[in-house]
């Protein structure tokens, strides 16, 4: 599809706003609709669009297998680490109130980090799944 000029130009124009919108959904998640899962899917869709238009091999150069797997694992680790941080700071697992001096700020910080972990894992997983189906490269 790399020879279709319109598709190429439009997708080039669209990919940065898609990523930006993903980040908006990510960080606005605790005030409005959205959150880590949705943001992760939107973020991954930018890569999937790129792969559809410019080919799997080019997309694999942008997001190699090790990178997406690392992103995927780091997201889960971040989630669990926030929980463990709660234990280390004297609360229960996933108790955000102890993360900062002020419980309200703590809750805020906790859910933001957790959602960021979710977003990283979901986008990593989505990209990995797409590449595995498209490329059969394991």
């Amino acid at each position: 599809m790399i020879f279709k000029a319109i598709l190429r130009v439009v997708s080039k124009l669209l990919i940065p706003p898609i990523m930006l919108f993903a980040l908006y959904v990510q960080f606005h998640g605790d005030f409005g609709p959205g959150g880590g899962f949705q943001a992760g899917v939107i973020f991954a869709s930018a890569f999937i669009l790129y792969a559809l238009i410019f080919g799997i091999d080019n997309a694999r150069k942008v997001a190699p297998a090790w990178a997406t797997r690392t992103l995927l694992s780091l997201g889960l680790l971040l989630y669990a680490s926030v929980g463990v941080a709660g234990i280390l700071l004297g609360g229960n697992f996933l108790d955000y109130s102890v993360l900062a001096d002020n419980p309200v700020i703590g809750q805020h910080l906790g859910i933001t980090l957790i959602e960021f972990g979710v977003g990283a894992t979901v986008s990593g997983a989505m990209i990995t799944i797409f590449f595995i189906f498209a490329h059969q490269d394991g």
Binding site: L72, L77, N92, F93, L94, D95
Partner: protein, 493 residues
């Protein structure tokens, strides 16, 4: 400080180790991490059991949100017992896994194998520890999804179809469970099991709850492979990698039986479901059919792994039979058989893993003369086989003794006879393997297979030894299982 957080750490430690395995990538490092984690997990499970024995149920509100609003982890006697079973099997299977996995899994996928194995362990432990009906569904999915992957990693391509079939059946089961939970939530407005138990008697007679109970029972019966919903099990166990079969046969179905027990005796604890409708009778009928038909079909199998898979269907029948009595003796028999059968089946599948490592096949025809060539492995197979049959001085005898006693207590002697009959069928299929391995000459020519490596023999014999030890001195296991049964039948928790 740590002691108070053991319930959370029980699940979080293996959960965090799984992504670390992906980051480490090197097979040896991933294995070492898995080994360390599986031993830590066992230590936590044992500490939790001791804590429960000493002070009664332990609860842990996640994120400090009090139950019933937040998710609560709740460890009581049954939960702690199942945690110890799963953790112990995990701790024994991991050292066994290194050589077997190197042999059966492509090298570049080994780290992913261990990551999935840890996730599966996480899910199974989570099911046993959570006190929240919806959280249980989440852990059920974590353990199921990872076990589909583990089964699909088998060497033959048929492993993929087996995994796919299990995926379809398992997803149906999980969906039915979720529908059941949603209906209970509709009627009671809560997902916490203890809270459900107190609210249930008031709404128990409604049709919604009756339908919910039906969905829950059928859904979990799919997961635990109760006859006639067992069709996914034989292929999944046959084509999965040896380590996976040993691990899942000893833990997966046991945890599902635990969920069934939880539903009947905790969530519906105040209602006495078995008295007001037919569930007990239906379960008992299906359990007996499973016992007899599973053992009978096992006799005709030429693949020994498939033979033991059908035997598992029969053994699940014993456990469900114990549950369906709904008496202290019967439930004790069912719960103690969770532990006993885990020891037996894990050891048997490990022996087959050793055989597969050395001769590359687990067909009965290829095992001729193995009794002399792999004496240590086959001796373990024989001892565990005797235990499966239920010979005195082995754990199999203890469970069957309790089940027969429970049947006689109620005056249902035909059931006692059927338990014995099914054990006699087990004699036949175990004997077929023994006959080929010990009394048939090894094939001429070709290299003689050597004994399996020590790293596989030691875990296998640990389990075999345990199945004799707990057969001779069953006081500890029976104390916990009996305590758990009495606790469950007390009604509301």
């Amino acid at each position: 400080m740590i002691a108070a957080h053991l319930p959370a750490l029980q699940v979080v430690v293996p959960l965090m180790a799984a992504p670390l395995c992906v980051l480490l990538r090197r097979p040896a490092l991933a294995w070492a991490l898995t080994l360390a984690v599986s031993w830590v997990v066992l230590a936590i499970a044992v500490l939790l059991l001791l804590q429960v024995l000493e002070t009664g149920p332990v609860t842990y509100p996640l994120g400090n949100w009090a139950a019933p609003w937040g998710i609560e982890y709740r460890v009581d006697m049954v939960g702690a017992f199942v945690l110890v079973i799963v953790a112990a099997i995990g701790a024994v299977v991991t050292p066994f896994a290194r050589r077997s996995v190197e042999h059966e899994i492509p090298r570049d996928r080994i780290y992913l194998f261990y990551a999935m194995y840890l996730l599966c362990l996480t899910g199974l432990l989570g099911i046993a520890i959570t006190g929240d009906a919806f959280n249980l569904f989440v852990f059920l999915e974590i353990s199921s999804l990872s076990s589909y992957v583990l089964i699909g990693l088998g060497k033959e391509r048929r492993a993929l179809t087996a995994a796919y079939r299990y995926l379809i059946m398992g997803t149906l089961g999980a969906t039915f469970y979720l529908i059941g939970v949603a209906m209970m939530y509709m009627m009671t407005g809560t997902l916490n099991m203890a809270d459900l138990a107190t609210l249930m008697p008031a709404v128990a007679d409604t049709r919604t709850i009756l339908v919910a109970l039906a969905f829950l029972t059928v859904g979990i019966s799919l997961k635990l492979a109760l006859f006639p919903l067992h069709l996914w099990l034989p292929n999944a166990y046959t084509y999965a990698p040896s380590v996976v079969t040993a691990f899942l046969a000893a833990t997966g179905t046991k945890v599902a039986v635990y969920v069934l027990i939880r539903i009947f005796f905790t969530i519906f604890g105040g209602v006495e479901v078995f008295r007001i409708n037919l569930i007990g009778d239906v379960l008992m009928g299906l359990a007996i059919l499973a016992m007899v038909s599973g053992s009978a079909v096992a006799i005709y199998q030429n693949n020994v792994k498939r033979m033991l898979a059908y035997s598992s269907v029969a053994q699940i029948g014993y456990m469900v039979l114990g549950v369906s009595f709904a008496t202290v003796t019967g439930l004790t028999g069912g719960i103690v058989h969770l532990f006993n059968h885990a020891l037996i089946k894990c050891a048997l599948f490990m022996a087959l893993g050793c055989v597969f490592l050395r001769i590359g096949s687990v067909n009965i025809g290829d095992m001729a003369g193995l009794g002399r060539r792999m004496p240590v492995t086959m001796a373990s197979f024989v001892v565990s086989g005797l235990s499966l049959i239920g010979v005195p001085l082995t754990v199999g005898f203890v469970s069957k003794w309790y089940l027969i006693q429970a049947a006689l207590e109620k005056g249902w002697w035909p059931i006692a006879v059927l338990v014995l009959f099914s054990s006699l069928l087990a004699v036949i299929y175990i004997w077929r393997v023994v006959e080929v391995a010990y009394f048939r000459p090894a094939p001429e020519g070709g290299p003689a297979p050597a004994e399996a490596p020590l790293s596989m023999l030691v875990p296998m014999w640990l389990l075999t030894g345990a199945s004799v030890y707990f057969g001779i001195d069953a006081t500890r296991t029976l104390e916990v299982a009996g305590g758990a049964a009495a606790f469950l039948l007390k009604g509301t928790p």
